[in-house]
Symmetry: C2
Subunit: 432 residues, 2 copies
């Protein structure tokens, strides 16, 4: 500490003056100097933090530009609603309650169309209900005669919390402000770069399927070929599938409120996406178990690995291309012409794997204690078979679950085509 202080005091503070020469700054002594140093540290620390914050904000915006768009949209909606303050007729029309329109925008504006519509409906319904309640209480109070009116009004104020004489005016103004706020929100959210919950859910599902397929194929390939070239991020992709349940549910919930957009009609079978998500998760659980086999301490015998490698790789590659095809099918929203072929291919690979497993017993050393004979006979002790066998049987289970996934995707496509037909029929009579 002491030597540091001396060192510090041995340093000259120089400042470069505009003409190129430099002046020696005489260090202020004692308390003033300490305060100066402390303040300087504080300011530079604060500057650092602000810079870090700005950098983080920039990164966030660069990673997900939709967040920036959302900010701009909120700003736009607030700016437009603030105009109500400036236009005298509008401002007077709502009795100076323009602030409620702003409050409405602040409360109901959400990143996606579905969520905003849902909140708007909620707010309008709740306001109307509260308005009816208030009018009802008012009516009861006015009917109950001079003697009871104060009591009824007093009790209702205690319950409802309002203290207004011109009730109908208030109700009218409040409803107008809320209608101004909500309709503005709906316009801005639907016209300026709209982000649809349904579209989001759709692309999340497609993305997750691709990830699932990549990590399934990658894991099995990593195990059998020992290639280190596999991208670790690709291998871990199935974890996204595991953790996207909550977001899928909320998106499906909001998507129901959205009008038809893009290729999605009003009553698009959003619930079916949840079923597909559940099927994908059930595959992902198995991939997690597969991963644990791969990282297990019990290493399998190389000869066994070699024996099963061809068929296992075939199963994994055919199942992963089946999942890829399903992703494509969901993306284009039509039944894939090749999916049946791919499932067949997967099943024949499974058959091959079954046969390979059956013939495994030839390689097996029946004696338990003959571990030192291995190299001589080429036979393998039972324990060294277990990891590969476990892997193979999990792989078989995965392909069973993929067939369930195929089923749920086909159901989605069928339902959506049915809805499309219904909508087309409903729309036709209106056309000339």
């Amino acid at each position: 500490m002491a030597s540091g202080k001396e060192l510090c005091e041995g340093v000259e503070w120089r400042i470069r003056v505009v003409d190129g020469s430099s002046e020696v700054l005489v260090p202020p002594t004692g308390l003033a100097r300490k305060v100066w140093l402390r303040t300087k540290g504080l300011i530079s620390g604060l500057g650092m933090k602000v810079r870090m914050f700005l950098k983080q904000a920039w990164d966030m915006g660069a990673n997900d530009p939709r967040k920036v768009i959302h900010c701009i949209k909120v700003g736009l909606a607030l700016t437009i609603v603030s105009l109500v303050y400036f236009m005298r007729p509008l401002y007077d029309g709502v009795g100076g309650n323009a602030m409620w329109a702003i409050m409405t925008v602040v409360v109901v504006f959400e990143p996606t169309v579905g969520a905003t519509l849902y909140k708007c409906l909620n707010r309008v319904c709740a306001t109307c209900l509260a308005g009816f309640l208030a009018v009802g209480v008012h009516w009861i109070a006015s009917q109950s005669g001079d003697r009871f009116e104060p009591f009824v009004v007093g009790a209702s104020i205690f319950i409802l919390g309002y203290r207004v004489d011109k009730l109908f005016d208030l109700a009218h103004q409040r409803i107008s402000t809320i209608i101004i706020g909500t309709s503005l929100c709906i316009l801005v959210i639907m016209l300026v770069c709209p982000i649809w919950s349904g579209q989001e859910l759709h692309s999340l599902t497609v993305r997750n399927m691709d990830k699932l397929s990549d990590s399934l194929d990658g894991c099995v390939r990593l195990y059998f070929t020992n290639s280190n070239g596999e991208d670790d991020q690709k291998l871990q992709g199935y974890k996204c599938v595991l953790s996207s349940k909550a977001s899928e549910e909320s998106m499906a919930n909001f998507a129901r409120w959205e009008p038809s957009h893009g290729r999605f009609n009003f009553r698009h079978p959003w619930k079916q996406y949840l079923k597909i998500g559940a099927s994908m998760r059930s595959c992902a659980y198995c991939i997690e178990a597969l991963n644990s086999c791969i990282n297990s301490e019990n290493q399998a015998a190389e000869s066994i690995k070699k024996h099963l490698s061809t068929s296992c790789l075939k199963v994994s590659s055919s199942s992963s291309s089946a999942i890829k095809e399903l992703a494509e099918s969901v993306k284009k929203m039509n039944k894939s012409p090749t999916i049946d072929l791919l499932v067949e291919e997967m099943n024949s690979a499974l058959e091959e794997l079954h046969n390979d497993l059956k013939s495994l017993s030839h390689l097996l050393n029946p004696s338990t204690t003959a571990e030192n004979q291995i190299s001589a006979t080429g036979l393998v002790p039972f324990m060294e078979i277990i990891p590969v066998v476990t892997l193979a049987s999990i792989l078989i289970e995965i392909s069973v679950r993929i067939e369930a996934l195929v089923g749920s995707v086909e159901e989605l496509v069928k339902e959506s085509e049915m809805k499309d037909k219904i909508v087309a029929k409903e729309e036709k009579p209106e056309e000339p």
Copy 2:
């Protein structure tokens, strides 16, 4: 239809009059009658719906009384804050802006203490920031001379959306109302049957551990003993563990804001609960794979099942009692004295399972095509071994993951004891 109508017309409508006799109601004919029937159906349908709704509400309240308590608390807070309307000095003190206090209560009141505190802090900070910004703009406007003042004020109104002359008064009133609202919320939420996020997270973790232990033990027992007496709900308990990630994260996030309550100090290591949750989920993934083995179509040979049954049951029961003990340890927040013993027991059961697996090769039929010899020799084809072997190796993997769980629980207990000591030290000097 026709006969039904006749029947209906054959029935007399009677009404019981007060004196005990009954009068025949002559059915109204034609349109009036139809309208009457329609209306009656509508009303009874509506009554049914209202009854259903009330029943649902009652059931919800009975299943989770805390929801009812939350409703009562919101009502209480709103009632108290409404009193501001009645007390003339208070009402005038905030310039008739008492509504903002009510708005604050509506906006910040959440079911748990942590969430409410978090929102309160958010609201107060945001209001203060906005206030400073407004005052800053005002100052700039007043400093910029007569010529520029209107422009600055105009621009700032356009950005900030306020149209007030007495800025300082407004800021003062707004901040008072918000302080009234938030402090009231904090008082009500902390004094009336408080629900702490931390406590919730703690009991969720304990509950999930119990569920995990039950379903692990139940699944293995179901497989080996074929007992149908297992409770299906208990077997599916691990699914709760799989789906509680999102709620754990939000609770841990809110728990950080809570002051010390019950046995939890202010800086209780809440993040460690998330690690425990992740460890539990990794066990639950394996139980899911285990379940798929149990429900698999490939049934295992009974003799193999019998051979491995004792050791598998031992492993599952010892691991499930280890998890139970961990749950107890988290519950009491101290290191369990028996956990090391239980882990040792689990490891010795694993050793036994390893030996049983090794000796399995004796029971194996080396020939692939000798399926018809089975009954004669008592040997089993390789394919019928696979399901049990897979189950056993998943069981081994589960016990590896349980050891990780033991580690994270011990870390939690250690960290919490450390924090306790620090708090005790900090508090001691204050005591006489």
